[in-house]
Amino acid sequence: MDLLNSYQNNYLIVFVFLCLGILLPIVALFLGKLLRPHKPEEAKYTTYESGIEPFHDSRIQFNVRYYIFALMFVIFDVETVFLYPWAVAYDKLGIFALIEMLIFVIMLAIGLIYAWKKKVLRWM
């Protein structure tokens, strides 16, 4: 039972960090708002496009190609999640778990090779 208490008390530090992380930007932005001069102008509110005159809205539709990169990030993120407990428990699991994990990684590598062959990994 003592272990459970010390486990939970460890997370108090996480909580303190979380509070600091939330408070710091709020306080910084609020102080900045108090201190800076406030002189609104028409030109300040236009979309910034590297100095040239803006000619359309800042929200444009992105190319579908970018979605594939996000998708592959998600899939390999999930793979990492499964790799982690395997690596932690590896010394108790031995060679059989290594083979299991190899099958898992090869399965996902097939997906990566498929994406490569379909030429969706090209940026342009």
Binding site: V64, Y67, L71, V74, I75, V78
Partner: protein, 104 residues
């Protein structure tokens, strides 16, 4: 000693599930419908983890179940959005009540 009872976690999961169900049934934007479904899956995960610690037979299996649920949720979101984008390119809409035809 252990102050938070099991039923508190179950009630919280029930509330989140109801919010997700309401969102999935009333919202018109398909992305929001998908993310409401994620919220419902999350509520189910809370139940699984709560039973894995406070249930009649506590064991690690509940946590492993929810690990699989999270994986399936990620795959579901990926494929769901790909279908949505394909549909959007044909019909130019993301509103679920306009997606009422099987042909294109």
């Amino acid at each position: 000693m252990n102050s938070v009872p099991l039923s508190a976690y179950l009630v919280l999961a029930l509330i989140l599930f109801c919010i997700g169900l309401y969102g999935a049934l009333t919202k018109r934007n398909a992305v929001i419908v998908l993310i409401s479904i994620e919220l419902m899956l999350n509520a189910v995960n809370i139940n699984l983890v709560a039973f894995s610690k406070l249930g009649p037979a506590p064991s690690i299996s509940g946590q492993i179940f929810s690990l699989f649920t999270i994986t399936v949720a990620a795959a579901e979101a990926a494929v769901g959005l790909a279908i949505l984008m394909s549909l959007y390119n044909r019909r130019k809409t993301v509103n679920v009540d306009e997606m009422d035809q099987l042909k294109h």
